[in-house]
Amino acid sequence: MTDTTFPTARRLATMREAALLAMIVVLVVAMSFASPYFLSVANFQAVIAGMVPTAIIVVGMTILLVSGSFDLSVGSVMALASTVVALLLLSGVSIPLAILGACAIGLAIGAVNGLIVTVLKVNPLIATLGTMLMARGAALVFTEGFSLSSLPQGFAMFGKAQILGLPLMAWIMLLIVLLGDLGLRRTRYLRQVYFIGGNERAAALSGIPVSRVRVVCFMLSGLLAAFAGILLASRLMSGTPTAGNALELQALAAAVIGGASLRGGEGTVLGAFLGVVFVALISNAMTMLAVSIYWQMVVTGLVLIVAVAVDMLTRSKT
């Protein structure tokens, strides 16, 4: 019996990734028969635009999940970053500087999350629940609850500019997913995350700087969430303090559907991304079939439970 949870370059796709890909193909084929609009360019672009923030955020979430941890603050950090970038732009700061400023906020919140978890030994659920509330609160305080619009026209480029028929935003998303997957699969630094998630104490006793790696992972998650917020602000041309509600849970669900586990030690960015795509397609399919938006949540929850249950059942067989 060969059994390794390390995703290696040799084993390009895990079972889970292959299964998800197959289901996505089936879904697309079925939907293209069921609805004439499904395969249209407009629908395709709408699905992608909706997917971008989750797909970017899920990269950091997956890395954290593999390390045996997670980050509930991502949705709030995204909202906060979108308001910060808007505030900076409105106060006359140049576009690159405003972007940098919002990214710095994300990094800082990530560092705080990481330090609370590693130095104060508060568990990630509580730590990031706390920062989730604080970041959302800050976004609402800064904006008094209103969206900030009339941003400078140049800032619209992420959403407007198109390359080969896809918005710039989508290319950025693909690049981040690709880099994230390569990073987690191949780099020495992120490989340490599998050891930490596999057995934290053994990792420390093998010379892995566990706390430092954890803080870096939280910072990465914060940075990616902030970046998603900047892209969102660019697409909507406004800073929205209420954006990204429950996004952290959607990202968690997608990562788990894609093969990550809350126990840590397993998961891939590619799998998590496919999880995001799958969930986005299902929602879209239901919209096309005129199913109420409320049912979509029910179905997402169902998919999550079925995916994990199937996994548990196939696992205990061996």
């Binding site: 019996m1 060969t2 059994d3 390794t4 949870t5 390390f6 290696t8 370059a9 040799r10 191949r186 780099t187 020495r188 630094y189 490989r191 340490q192 599998y194 050891f195 596999g198 057995n199 104490r201 053994a202 990792a203 420390a204 006793l205 093998s206 010379g207 892995i208 700087p209 030690g265 397993e266």
Partner: protein, 506 residues
């Protein structure tokens, strides 16, 4: 005949590994039936089938001549089979009493009766001759104490308070119960086992300590490569008989030559940590093997943790090759330190990762180029570790969890030996390892010392320390009571120092 447990033609395979081949076996009431064999011979697999953890591919398990399908540990426990597994399975956050009474806590008015629970736990621990505080969390116990708690828990399952009449089947399976016990704790365990035998309990005893087996068992079954070699009455058998049946070859003792002490590699000077060690001064030279002996609570494992940089001295100082100890394991590793902890499951290994991944974790840069992992190099490292340590495994991609206990231990040692350490600190180097592999490991450790490295062995196994060391540092209640030359030392002379009866001037 009315045997308590009868196994008929049991088979179990894992993929291509035929772990148990057509094994038949009986356990009578009131006997100690020992099961011996090399690492990977199939002992744990066999007992896991009796304990309801694994289901046989074919064959039958009969309890008092009635075929039974044991599909869960709960079912086996209800049928009267209590088990102590090779890898301990206590809950760290719960107390000793809660762990011992897990699943059958005394209840009153639907609530757990904690007084009764404490009494029950105390009582069971007394049978094993120990009085651990029952409200201590298990996570804070030493390896040997945890093992005793585990055994007390299993004995408790045999004497379920609600079962008014004694059960017809009362079997206790012990898989390597003594691997972390001191000599004293072992003797008390054996006394408890003999008492259970008198009360009609059948005991299956798995161990690599063959002299213990010969002394304790009524009958012995030898397994080799999954199949039974023979079952014989223990009376008249010698350890040599067992070894030749297990291995099919003679086991050589490591030849020992005189240590050639080199330069000082590590030094502890007046080191104190409250409640663990007091005013400890010790020098370790290259080329020598230093054993650290002592009873539980003597602070012997603290010496290892201090040298490794996992714990820091509150007073005093530690130097490595003349320079101040950098204070963390990670940095000490760059100075050539390797540290093998005593619990491979929780502290040492990544059970769900492959052998290859475990082999490279202590030096990821060595298998990376420009920051990118090279899978081919990882694979080679795994292949090398399997060959160097003689691990019985299908290949380097096999998960460590699917290895037998002794083979896991070889992986743990191998992942550190790969680094060619200058100062090797090992706790329980041969825990769960069979007698042949033990000699191989001893030879490897001796060779490392002869190449100029310093080796510190911390072990509860005194004969092993006597055999392996050049000098032995003996501790009692956190203080060094003597340093003796291993060639002239005896178990008695070391025990006298360890129990604080005498104190060496040195």
């Amino acid at each position: 005949m009315n045997s308590m447990i009868t196994l008929r033609g049991l088979n179990k395979s894992f993929g291509a590994t035929h772990a148990v081949k057509d094994v038949s076996f009986t356990l009578e009431a009131g006997e100690v039936h020992a099961l011996v064999g090399e690492n990977g011979a199939g002992k744990s697999t066999l007992m896991n089938m009796m304990a309801g953890v694994l289901t046989p591919d074919s064959g039958h398990i009969l309890l008092q001549d009635t075929p039974r399908a044991l599909t869960s540990t709960l079912m086996a426990a209800r049928a009267g089979i209590a088990t102590v597994f090779q890898e301990l399975s206590l809950v760290d956050g719960l107390s000793v009493a809660e762990n011992i009474c897990a699943g059958h806590a005394p209840v009153q008015f639907g609530l757990i009766d904690s007084g009764a629970m404490a009494r029950r736990a105390t009582d069971l621990l007394h049978r094993l001759g120990t009085d651990l505080p029952v409200w201590r969390p298990v996570g804070s116990l030493l390896a040997g104490q945890r093992q005793l708690v585990e055994i007390a828990k299993a004995i408790g399952q045999l004497y379920h308070p609600e079962a008014a009449v004694p059960r017809p089947v009362r079997a206790l399976i012990l898989d390597e119960p003594t691997s972390a016990l001191t000599a004293d704790e072992k003797l008390r365990l054996f006394a408890a086992v003999r008492e259970l035998r008198l009360q009609g309990v059948g005991i299956i005893y798995i161990s690599h300590h063959l002299s213990e087996v010969v002394a304790l068992a009524d009958r012995i079954t030898v397994l080799r490569d999954g199949a039974t070699v023979w079952t014989r009455p223990a009376a008249g058998l010698t350890t040599e008989d067992l070894v030749s049946a297990m291995v099919g070859r003679e086991v050589l003792r490591a030849p020992r030559d005189e240590a050639v002490p080199g330069p000082e590699m590590a030094r502890l000077e007046g080191v104190t940590r409250a409640g663990q060690v007091r005013d400890l001064t010790l020098s370790i030279r290259g080329g020598e093997v230093l054993g650290v002996a002592g009873l539980d609570g003597s602070g012997r494992e603290t010496v290892a943790r201090l040298l490794a940089g996992v714990e820091l001295p509150e007073q005093g100082r530690i130097t490595l090759a003349g320079a101040a100890h950098p204070g963390t394991l990670r940095r000490a590793m760059s100075a050539g330190v390797a540290y093998v902890p005593d619990d491979r499951k929780t502290l040492g290994l990544f059970l769900d990762l492959s052998i290859a991944a475990n082999a490279v974790v202590t030096d990821l840069t060595q298998v990376a180029r420009a920051g990118m992992m090279r899978e081919a190099l990882i694979h080679v490292a795994g292949v090398e570790l399997i060959a160097d340590q003689g691990v019985k495994a299908a290949g380097p991609d096999m998960s460590v969890r699917s290895l037998s206990g002794g083979n896991q231990q070889k992986v743990l040692l191998g992942k550190w030996l790969r680094r060619a350490p200058r100062l090797l600190v090992v706790e329980e180097p041969t825990k769960g390892v069979d007698i042949g592999a033990k000699q191989d490991i001893h030879m490897r450790i001796a060779a490392l010392a002869r190449e100029g490295a310093a080796v510190v062995i911390v072990s509860s196994d005194l004969p092993e320390i006597l055999e392996l060391s050049d000098r032995i540092a003996v501790m009692h209640r956190g203080r060094l009571t003597g340093i003796v030359d291993a060639r002239s030392a005896t178990e008695e002379s070391v025990m006298a120092l360890a129990s604080g009866l005498v104190e060496d001037a040195a």
